[in-house]
C-alpha cells in the first residue's frame, strides 16, 4: 500500500497527565474542566464511570452540556483506529458548530487493556492523525504505574505536551504516529471462524467481489442504500489491495449476529499504518477510498504482519 498524505496544519493539541492516586487524578482533572467551562468551551469526555460521577459531583463542574464520546468496544475487541475515526466524526460535528476550541478529557481504563495495553498506544497514535485538523485540546489522563508497561511507554510517546503541576510543558519523548506504530503495530483483531464465502481476486474481478457482497447483504435484509454503501466500502478496500499489493488478493465474507464482516488480505507491505484516517485534501485525488470506507462502516481495522496487509470491516444493517 502507498502513503498518501497531504500535510495539513495541525490544530489538535494533544497532551497527557499522569496521576498517582484517584485523589491526584481529580486534583488534576477538575482544573482542566473548570478552565474550559470558564472560557465557555464545549466539553467532550471519555472517562471511567466512577471518575465521571466524581467530576459531575463537583459544584464547580456543570457538565449538563458535555458530550460523551463513544466507548472503546466492539465485537472484535477494541480497535484504536476505529475509535479514533469515530471520535473524529463526533468531534467534527461539535467543532463545526463552534466558535471555540473543544476541550476533550480522556482517561485510561484498564478494562480495555486487552492482553498488553497496546490498544491505548494505537488509539492515541490514531487520534494524532484522525483529529489533527480539528480545533481540539485533548488531555489524556494515565496512571503513573499502569499494569502494562506498554500503556505508559505509549502515553509518553504519543503526546506532544505533558501536564505537570497544572502547567503544560513540551514532551521531549514525543514521536510521530508513524514512528510509534512502526515500533508498536496495530494488533490483529480476534480471530473469527471459517468465512461463509472466500474469493481470490485481481484488478479485473472487483465486480465479482461486489456482486458477492451485494448478494449477501440483500439476503441478510440490508436496505438498498445501506447495501450500496457497504459494497462501496468493500470495493475501496479491495481496490487498494490489488492496486498497491503485489498481485491477487483474497476476500473473506461473514454474516454473524452483529451483521456483516469482510476481511481483505494482500501480500503487500503496509506503508502507512494509519490508512484513511485523515480527511483527504480536495486537491489530492488519491487516498480518499479508505477514508470514505471508514465513514461507511461501523469498524475498519487495518493491521500488518509478515504475510502482508489485512483489513477487517464490519457493518450492521
Amino acid at each position: 500500500m502507498r502513503i498518501t498524505s497531504t500535510p495539513e496544519a495541525t490544530r489538535l493539541r494533544h497532551g497527557v497527565a499522569f496521576y498517582d492516586t484517584e485523589v491526584d487524578l481529580l486534583a488534576q482533572l477538575v482544573p482542566v474542566v473548570e478552565a474550559a467551562l470558564a472560557a465557555g468551551r464545549p466539553i467532550a469526555l471519555a472517562l471511567r464511570p466512577t471518575t465521571e460521577a466524581a467530576l459531575r459531583g463537583q459544584p464547580t463542574c456543570d457538565l449538563a452540556d458535555a458530550v460523551a464520546l463513544t466507548r472503546p468496544d466492539g465485537p472484535d475487541g477494541p480497535s484504536g483506529q476505529t475509535l479514533a475515526a469515530r471520535w473524529a466524526r463526533e468531534l467534527r460535528t461539535l467543532t463545526a458548530a463552534g466558535r471555540q476550541d473543544v476541550c476533550v478529557v480522556i482517561e485510561h481504563w484498564d478494562a480495555f487493556d486487552g492482553s498488553d495495553g497496546g490498544f491505548w498506544t494505537e488509539l492515541d497514535a490514531a487520534a494524532n492523525v484522525a483529529l489533527s485538523d480539528l480545533p481540539v485540546a485533548m488531555t489524556c489522563f494515565y496512571p503513573a504505574y499502569p499494569l502494562h508497561e506498554a500503556v505508559l511507554s505509549g502515553a509518553r510517546r504519543n503526546h506532544r505536551t505533558v501536564l505537570r503541576s497544572g502547567r503544560i510543558a513540551d514532551n521531549a519523548d514525543y514521536l510521530s504516529p508513524q514512528e510509534v506504530l512502526r515500533a508498536s503495530p496495530a494488533p490483529a483483531p480476534m480471530v473469527l471462524g471459517p468465512p461463509d464465502e472466500r474469493r481470490t481476486f485481481g484488478a479485473w474481478a472487483l465486480n465479482e467481489v461486489r456482486a458477492s457482497v451485494a448478494t449477501m447483504l440483500l439476503a441478510a435484509g440490508f436496505g438498498r442504500d445501506r447495501a450500496d454503501d457497504v459494497v462501496l466500502a468493500v470495493n475501496e478496500i479491495a481496490t487498494n489491495a490489488v492496486e498497491h499489493g503485489p498481485g491477487d488478493a483474497e476476500v473473506y465474507l461473514w454474516l454473524d449476529a452483529d451483521g456483516f464482516v469482510a476481511e481483505v488480505h494482500d501480500r503487500g507491505v503496509l506503508g502507512n499504518p494509519l490508512l484513511g484516517l485523515m480527511a483527504p485534501h480536495p486537491a489530492e485525488p488519491r487516498g480518499r477510498g479508505v477514508w470514505i470506507a471508514r465513514q461507511l462502516c461501523d469498524s475498519l481495522h487495518v493491521w500488518a504482519n509478515a504475510e502482508g496487509t489485512h483489513v477487517r470491516l464490519r457493518a450492521a444493517p
Binding site: A203, W204, L206, N207, R210, R224, D225, D228, D229, V231, L232, N235, E236, T239, V242, E243, P282, P285, R286, R288, G289, I292, Q295
Partner: protein
C-alpha cells in the same frame, strides 16, 4: 445473407443482434421496444426472467410504458409460457406466432414487434432446431411485412457456429456502435459531447474513462458549434468507485471556465459517491439526480 443496418426505415423485418455486453443487449432491446411503442405498434416481449432488465432499461431511457402495459401495446409473455413455447415442435411455435401476428392485425395495430429469448431452444433441440425455427420465422415475416422481430444471440450462450448460422438466416443484423465496451462498462454517444455510461466504473476501466472524458472535452473545444456543456447520462450506471467519481469531479475542475460537465440521471447510490467525492463543491460540475417517475 447478412446486411448491416439500423432499423430506422420503418420496416423492421427479421433482425438479429449479437450483443457486445449485457448493457448492449438491453440498450438495443429497449430501443427496439421504444421505437415500436413510439409509432403505435404492438410490442410482444417473451421474457425469460429478464422482464425486470428490460423494464429497468426502459425506465433508464425515460420511456413511459405504463400506458402501453395497460392497453396491450406492450405485452410481456411470462417466463413459464416462453419456456413452454420453446419446448413445442417448430411448426407449432411458428403457428402460434402467426396467430399472434394475425390477432394484432385484426385488432387494428399498424404493426407488431416481437422480441425475446430463443436460447431456451438450444438445450431442447440444439442448433438444428434453432436453425429450423429461425428459417420458418423468416418465411412467416416475409408474408407479414408489418411484423418485425429482433432475435438476440448472446455469445455467452451461442458459440461461433451458432452465431454464424444465425447471421446467415437473418436478413438484417442490428449493429449499434459504442465508443467503448469492455462488458463491464459501455460508453455510447449521440454526439461527441453527449455521452452515456452504462454498467460499472472501477479500477479495471479507470484509464478508459479518463480518456473518454479527455476526448469529449477536446471535441467540445475544437468545434465552434459544439455546446459548452459536456453531458453524460448516468441513468444506466450501476456502480462508480471513489477514484472514478473523483475522476469526474476532477475533470470538471480542470475544464476551462467556459465549459461545464453535466451528469444527468444519476442513481441514488452513484449520486452519493459523487457527493462524497466533492461534486457539490465543483462549480463547473452539475449533477442532475434521477427523476423517480415511472
Amino acid at each position: 445473407m447478412t446486411g448491416i443496418g439500423t432499423i430506422d426505415e420503418g420496416r423492421v423485418g427479421h433482425a438479429c443482434l449479437i450483443p457486445d455486453s449485457e448493457d448492449h443487449l438491453w440498450e438495443a432491446t429497449a430501443a427496439f421496444v421504444a421505437d415500436g411503442l413510439a409509432v403505435g405498434e404492438r410490442v410482444v416481449y417473451f421474457e425469460n426472467d429478464t422482464a425486470d432488465d428490460l423494464l429497468g432499461r426502459l425506465a433508464d431511457d425515460r420511456v413511459p410504458v405504463s400506458g402501453a402495459l395497460a392497453d396491450g401495446g406492450l405485452l410481456i409473455v411470462p417466463t413459464e409460457r416462453t419456456r413452454q413455447l420453446c419446448a413445442f415442435p417448430v411448426p407449432d411455435i411458428v403457428e402460434l406466432m402467426r396467430q399472434t401476428i394475425c390477432e394484432s392485425e385484426s385488432e387494428g395495430w399498424p404493426g407488431i414487434r416481437l422480441a425475446g429469448e430463443s436460447r431456451e431452444l438450444l438445450p431442447i433441440g440444439g442448433l438444428r432446431k434453432l436453425v429450423a425455427y429461425e428459417t420458418a420465422v423468416d418465411g412467416l415475416l416475409a408474408q407479414h411485412p408489418s411484423a418485425g422481430m429482433l432475435c438476440r444471440f448472446d455469445r455467452r450462450f451461442f458459440d461461433d457456429e451458432a452465431v454464424a448460422a444465425m447471421r446467415e438466416i437473418h436478413p438484417t443484423e442490428l449493429v449499434t456502435p459504442a465508443l467503448y465496451d469492455d462488458t463491464l462498462l459501455r460508453v455510447t454517444g449521440s454526439a461527441a459531447t453527449a455521452l452515456r455510461f452504462a454498467g460499472e466504473i472501477d479500477l479495471s476501466n479507470r484509464p478508459q474513462v479518463r480518456r473518454v472524458l479527455e476526448t469529449a472535452l477536446d471535441a467540445a473545444l475544437r468545434s465552434p458549434y459544439a455546446t459548452t456543456d459536456i453531458t453524460i447520462d448516468l441513468a444506466s450506471l450501476r456502480f462508480i468507485d471513489v477514484a472514478g467519481a473523483v475522476e469526474l469531479v476532477h475533470a470538471a475542475e480542470t475544464f476551462p471556465d467556459t465549459h461545464r460537465l453535466v451528469l444527468v440521471g444519476a442513481r441514488p447510490g452513484v449520486h452519493r459517491v459523487l457527493d462524497r467525492c466533492g461534486a457539490p463543491f465543483a462549480p463547473q460540475l452539475e449533477v442532475v439526480p434521477r427523476e423517480e417517475g415511472e
